[in-house]
Symmetry: C2
Subunit: 350 residues, 2 copies
């Protein structure tokens, strides 16, 4: 069932991207790399969690399955792709899902053609536009999903709040990094707005709006989605620090080199020895930190027991999410699917 | 009439931005600068041409005046604000409409607070997110304009094509700059997609879709909008090279320092003496070119007669636009307003 839904999401994305690509390629051959990068960014992998949460949010509310729902849900992947492309520009990340990030790819195009100016600057400029295009397309795909007008009208404000909160959360994240952050509480708030809202609860509520959910269903989805979103983000923090090229396609230490103020880092700073703390304060956010430097920081993190604490936080949140489903008055097929999704969203091996 | 419409557009923007700001400020006090920058960027001036073209496109099709139409039209200013913010990041422009550009402003915020990391990098990162937020809000304002669902459904694909063409045109512009450009024909194509489409013809067609225009009205609006859009862009090229702080809030030479491959530059390269051409090839796109260097380039441009050629191109296109209106079967109040708008969009003093 889960695999089948994923295939349908994939098919919906391919079916949307084909004419969308053709539309911009018709303007001129120079636009082919932009069209190709858009398609590759969206189709280059990922767990398709956001569409799945949206789909099952609607099903939980009693909506029947149909292709319009799958298309509307799949459009979240275009929003996500926008966020990834702009995030990689902001963080200057060279890799994404094991391949070159979009700005890196455009920088390479610039170098290959021996064009004028700085390849890196060209890469960043064009990646900003690629992200904008993906954001425009996410809306276009949602609007053209085939959902009936009343469902669209119910869902639209929810979609907009989610997008606004996504951008606000990204901003909070950057400010927190710049301020040097610190408290676990503040790091958790950033986590909640940054990814949790638009990864779990936002998509669930979007689906609920499509499915015309009753207030008690929406409450039940929040009771499941809020702790699960935090658990997801905490798992993401661990992967971002310790790395797992198979899952994230990112090398170990990426978050450390970027100086991300995650809950993991906040917990470490609270519990570290003076020496460990000094090392962290010095090296966190150093983009040129070598692998030995990363290892030294990870040793500090591990020595504090912060990893165990995070694993514990993940487990209790996952349990709370699943508990919330047990008593919820929702469609039973959706209940089973949401339990599976909770596990898929938080497990170590991706 | 024109002044009154402009006031109504301004009021609609203020009315949208107030709750939108409150929504993100409620997340946390750290978000105030983001909310403030969004509002200032939108309300910081501008001729509001795009909303006016959209409004009169609908009126030309026979739609009655109402506030929903004004709100839908005004939402184009949020899209435009997104384009300006991202454009300034891409071009590394420090000023916009006589004030600091958004990324410059965030860089100053970073410096004032003595935050960690590079102020310029923080400025660019947050300006990318600000642009994204404005893009999300442009759609939110359009959807919540109060237009009836059938008008919204007619207008949405037109709005999406316009946005896609805007991003595609910006990409073309950057690629042209990187390739070193050259031909007048190619520069005109960039001009057409980059600004003309989303400045004149796109907004007119959006209005026409809202007003449920007949095919002959849409054709008439194109016959007016296409040459007018080119004329607008050609005027913009002149202002971008020779500057006019009163109109654009940008210093002279900005486009030259950025290496923009405008029609003005293409014409100059075609007609310049070998010395002039060599000077242009050397200094165009040098971000550190001083005022004397800019003057020398402008002398080369003027010596070729390119300015006169551009003024001639503007005049003939403006005439073609106004001619197209004369015979068009459109609402007569709209006809008068569109003639006035054509003149406002292309005159030297802004």
């Amino acid at each position: 069932m889960a695999a089948e839904l994923r295939d349908r999401i994939e098919d919906a994305l391919v079916a949307f991207l084909e004419p969308a690509r053709a539309e911009i390629e018709a303007i001129g051959a120079e636009l082919e790399p932009l069209a190709e990068a858009a398609a590759d960014t969206v189709l280059g992998g990922g767990k398709r969690l956001r569409p799945a949460f949206c789909y099952w949010g609607a099903r939980a509310a009693g909506r029947a399955d149909d292709d319009a729902l799958v298309r509307a849900a799949a459009s979240l992947e275009l929003l996500h792709a926008c966020a990834l492309v702009h995030d990689d520009v902001i963080d200057r990340s060279a890799t994404r899902r094991g391949s070159s990030s979009a700005h890196e790819r455009f920088a390479q195009l610039h170098s290959e053609h021996h064009w004028r100016g700085d390849p890196a600057e060209f890469g960043r400029a064009t990646a900003i536009l690629l992200g904008d295009l993906l954001l425009v397309w996410s809306d276009a795909m949602f609007a053209a999903s085939g959902l009936d007008p009343t469902a669209l009208a119910r869902a639209r404000p929810v979609a907009e709040r989610m997008r606004t909160e996504l951008m606000a959360g990204q901003y909070l994240d950057i400010v927190e990094q710049a301020r040097g952050g610190g408290s676990v509480e503040r790091a958790l708030r950033v986590a909640r707005y940054k990814a949790a809202t638009y990864t779990v609860e936002g998509p669930l509520h979007l689906g609920a709006a499509i499915g015309d959910a009753q207030p008690d269903t929406i409450e039940a989805l929040s009771a499941y989605g809020v702790p699960l979103g935090e658990a997801f983000q905490l798992r993401d923090d661990l992967l971002g620090a310790f790395g797992d090229p198979d899952v994230t396609g990112k090398p170990a230490g990426d978050d450390l080199r970027e100086g991300k103020r995650t809950v993991l880092i906040a917990l470490t700073l609270e519990a570290a020895s003076p020496t460990g703390r000094a090392l962290l304060e010095r090296d966190l956010g150093n983009p040129n930190l070598d692998d030995d430097g990363v290892s030294a920081l990870l040793d500090v993190v591990s020595a504090t027991g912060a990893v165990k604490t995070i694993e514990h936080l993940i487990t209790t949140r996952l349990a709370a999410a699943i508990d919330a489903l047990a008593t919820a008055d929702i469609d039973s097929e959706a209940r089973v699917a949401l339990v599976q999704l909770a596990s898929a969203a938080t497990r170590r091996d991706g």
